[in-house]
Symmetry: C5
Subunit: 305 residues, 5 copies
């Protein structure tokens, strides 16, 4: 995720980092060269004049705007839902931490509450690694007991198994009578929420936008851009390449951003900063548990992951 301070409107026109422009440059240069060719030959291919004018492009504009708008809304909704799920993860782990600290009757549990909170933190990291397809080993090893780690390490759905371990912890507290059934129920309700968050993230990552949509939109955008210079050359003359590239840039960039945030758990520059969120959840849970928390470096402008 790119973090930047508000910028002067004028400077923002020339921002390079954080824009998708660099990635799209080769395609746009290709189009620019094509447009120059079209201008040079006055829109003729061999000696055939391509009789294209702006009218069909306008007709097309309707459906293209429709497509892009739809694609973009869907992608952004996925991005924002993913962010909401991680926001709920923060809320839910905080609530469980508060419960483990305030609900049990005897203070002898105090030392054990840290064990529960470590499970919460591990669950967060395990979810991050599952979503990014990375190896959770390092992050889990230092936060869990050896028994717990070796048990979890062998499983496939790690966050789900960690939630079950929390359930075991609570059942143990219940059998020791340090909480009663009603308090156990409050814990259990929040474990349900945690399971919903984990499942929600899995849903987003396993179900992309239907593939046919992506193909159709992709084709439409690029064919449209390819037709643009032929349609505009008669009226725009030597200006054609500039205007064509400008229009194409906005269309193609819009599609590219939508494509990037459609899978918001990756590490591209507009994706969610799962790493930072994990650290933040860890910090707030440790503070709730009365631990020292490390200084957070001031969030400078730049990309966080």
């Amino acid at each position: 995720m790119i973090i930047r301070k508000k910028e002067n409107w004028f400077k923002m026109l020339f921002v390079w980092h954080g824009s998708v422009l660099p990635r799209l440059l080769p395609r746009l240069i290709l189009l620019f060269v094509l447009s120059i060719g079209v201008v040079f030959f006055h829109g003729k291919i061999l000696s055939f004049k391509v009789p294209l004018n702006p009218t069909p492009l306008t007709l097309f504009g309707f459906v293209l705007a429709l497509f892009l708008g739809f694609r973009n809304n869907v992608s952004y909704d996925r991005f924002w839902e993913a962010r909401k799920l991680w926001g709920s993860l923060l809320n839910c782990t905080r609530s469980l931490a508060r419960q483990v600290i305030t609900l049990p009757r005897t203070s002898s549990e105090k030392s054990e509450s840290t064990g529960f909170i470590n499970l919460l933190i591990s669950c967060t990291y395990a979810l991050k690694h599952q979503l990014r397809g990375t190896n959770a080993e390092n992050d889990l090893k230092k936060r869990l007991s050896d028994t717990q780690f070796s048990f979890i390490h062998a499983t496939r759905y790690k966050p789900t198994i960690i939630i079950k371990l929390m359930g075991d912890w609570i059942a143990h507290a219940r059998s020791k009578e340090s909480i009663d059934s009603i308090q156990q129920m409050r814990f259990d309700e929040n474990l349900d929420k945690l399971a919903e968050i984990v499942g929600g993230c899995e849903r987003i990552i396993s179900t992309p936008i239907p593939y046919s949509y992506r193909v159709l939109l992709h084709r439409t955008v690029y064919l449209y851009c390819f037709l643009l210079p032929f349609g505009l050359v008669d009226s725009l003359q030597w200006l054609t390449p500039f205007i064509v590239v400008f229009i194409a840039y906005t269309f193609v960039a819009f599609e590219a951003i939508a494509d990037e945030i459609e899978q918001p758990f990756g590490t591209e520059s507009n994706d969610l900063a799962l790493n930072e969120m994990c650290q933040m959840i860890e910090a707030t849970l440790m503070e709730l548990d009365g631990k020292e928390i490390p200084e957070i470096k001031a969030r400078k402008s730049g990309t966080i992951d």
Copy 2:
């Protein structure tokens, strides 16, 4: 559902499998031939020149974009709601499995928890078969006891009846005092959720988008495509068939995709992969229960159902 790795933008333009193009080809060829005819006769029918120009087509574009956008949003919302329901099914069965493992007080229940988890898995498969109109017999027989199977097999609303069997299981545990009323309540709340998921899927499948909409939109799209060559022939000349087919392709394909995902429980290539989801739910529930789970073959590019 079609699963594919991210592709190069250029290759994606020529994807054949997963595009709706093959299915639409006959109609588009028909339109292509018509357009050639229109070009050949210079837009005349017998000796009457059809005095159509792009203006009414533009007027029409508004309402067509409106229609397609509406139809498409409704279809996608249905698709995504269906996916959410199956996501909730995953979450809810996981939560119930966790509860059956951690809530009962005596460990003597342990052997019985597998029976409950088998009910959960059977419910998932029964729902899939109900939604796809297929025969649940094989999937239920191997997961249920004979008594259970013969009882369920005779019923019409199988998933609902299975939920009731879970209720019986819980009532039995309650009467044996292995859980108390409060823990029974936690189970019961999740059974309510399960009932909502089953009912939600039934709602989507039994209530299509109002038929009049479909007729109206269908007519509008096809008549529009039929009028296109007459409106564009004067300005586009020999280019007409190509542009007409290109524009028509986007409109018709958009409608075709919307039509396909409107009923997301089918087995068309953009429908939900209920089969894979059932297997995934089974795997995660078995892992929670401490069972070995089968290796999942790496999800290759291709269609999963």
Copy 3:
């Protein structure tokens, strides 16, 4: 509601039943005749040429598309919310039936559970009759005891009163100690949901879309259609009546469908099939209660109400 199998794309162009075309035909014929007149007099009224061209019609198209889109979205949202409420009714009655069967401790209640389930079914029918303004007498009489029927028959808000009777039933079971307070609470929560469903339906039926919107949109659509032939006659000549009627058909039909589904509880052809849903709820509740359920006739293509 119209139920139809998927049709061939070509046949669907000529569907008559289920389309709103028949109802709109007189208006469209009127417009056709007007257009012929306009063509005949070359757009002159007496000897004044009406100097209308397509430009203002295009300007107008923006706002018209906006209006129709808004109207349509609102209507469809109402339709779908109504469907969701009836879907929840199914879920909620199923859950209550499951509870009444599995929660009470002593099996002596068994005979009484049928009484409760009859209240659930009656509530469904009573709601249907309240929403359609029909007489609930027949449907209630055969499902309720005489005391219950005569009590309910005298009331105005029948479904609400039936929910109260369920509350009484539960309170009775509580006082007999066949359920405890916690189980009573689970029932009570679902009664709250039932009250929300009943109130939600009442909200939809008692609050139409603000009247001023309807007037404004109606006027805009019809005046637009009236102006169309004058604006198009110069360019379209003898084709004017056909194109005008075609454009007008889509606009007027779109408004007509929106108007129809705005009040989704009626008996028009796109309204919800409340009757069928009542029967379905009755069947599933009876199956839960272990009763025989009548064969449902295969849902043929056609209109169900």
Copy 4:
């Protein structure tokens, strides 16, 4: 709120009452006169021809449609959310009334339940008066005991204080052991819902749509209407005033309706019928309590407030 039977499509074109036309007439007449002037001088101001043509008006149309659409959606969402809140108020008060009748164990509470129901009705009326800024004195005095009334009358947030009184009533019942803690909890959950409804209404009324939006949209609409005759006079000639007024009517009326329903708790003709809803809630609560309820006059066509 305006209540009308479905009207013939033709009659509806000439509806006067309930349309916003009367209120907008002066502005439209002004524009009509201006347009006549523009036609008379052929679009010249002094001897300068205003060189405006429809092209910039088209460009403008995009953003205007965008603005109006946004403004309108926001306003309607506020209207519908307000309606939903009042619908929830109905559901919630009904549920509380059911609870107070069925939950307490001893029938000696019966006489007291009426006191609780009176608090519910008073809360409804107090909310109405708070939202409309009117004096709640009359409506509260006749429904509350003197002690209650004088206590509430001195407070600022009356509905909230009445909810607290309900909490006191419940706490009293708890201390008398007529309900247990679990039943108290059920009441308390619904009091939370009631608090959410009250707070939701306060949120809508205290936070209008950001002011800058309203200014910007207002200016855009009126300047657009002012430019219309200059842009259209060359092509439409003597028809200009009619077309301009027609287009302007739809734009201005759309904005006017949006402005009206943005604050849906007022007494303008499209606002919510809070009065009628209060009476309806009172009737249904009294019926639940076994009281006679007054005949409701048939809802004739007309405005209800």
Copy 5:
């Protein structure tokens, strides 16, 4: 937030305060000057005529409208979600205050309930200061005991820690048997809600709209405005600067407002009035606690923060 009475439609056209016009004036003047230059040189740069006409601007209009609409909807959704969260904060603190007053059994708690309510008020102020990045010291010091204050002052996530203190308060009441486990659960559920509100606000403030969108939209809007005079000069002649500035104003202002409300917790003129809301929450909680509340000055037209 700007509060204004409804104004005459005519006066509203000339409102200065509350419009974003002042801030945009320099940019618009720049564009005005540019346009005059374009008119003066008849659209030539040196001796090259810039062959731009309105057609590509129209094509562009589609995507620009799309962009602006998307950006604006996202920003407004954030604004309204933030408002809803603060509305829920009001509801939730009210409910907790009601609970602390009515749930505990012994009246000896009465004096202590004020302590709990002070925690609620402090939590509200702490959240405001966290969101605005200001110093919470003054607002917390006068509402908390010295021990509480010095504890909270050292923490980073103050509102979350305050919620934990509430949990401690409740646990203390539980251990004194002044509430039972069920009542503790009711408190605990509302603490969960409070945690969700705090986390929801943190989510909005920490996750802006993806940066690439902002860059892309910003560039598109300004380049479009820069191209406008070249495209319109041929047809509009001396009118060009006026029309261009007018169109540019609406586009740029729309983007500026969206930019402002995207982060709704700031102190710009369209941001949420957190200060006023804090005071309002304090007043209503004090009234619930039976305290005198200060007169609120009549909300005059003007900006509140």
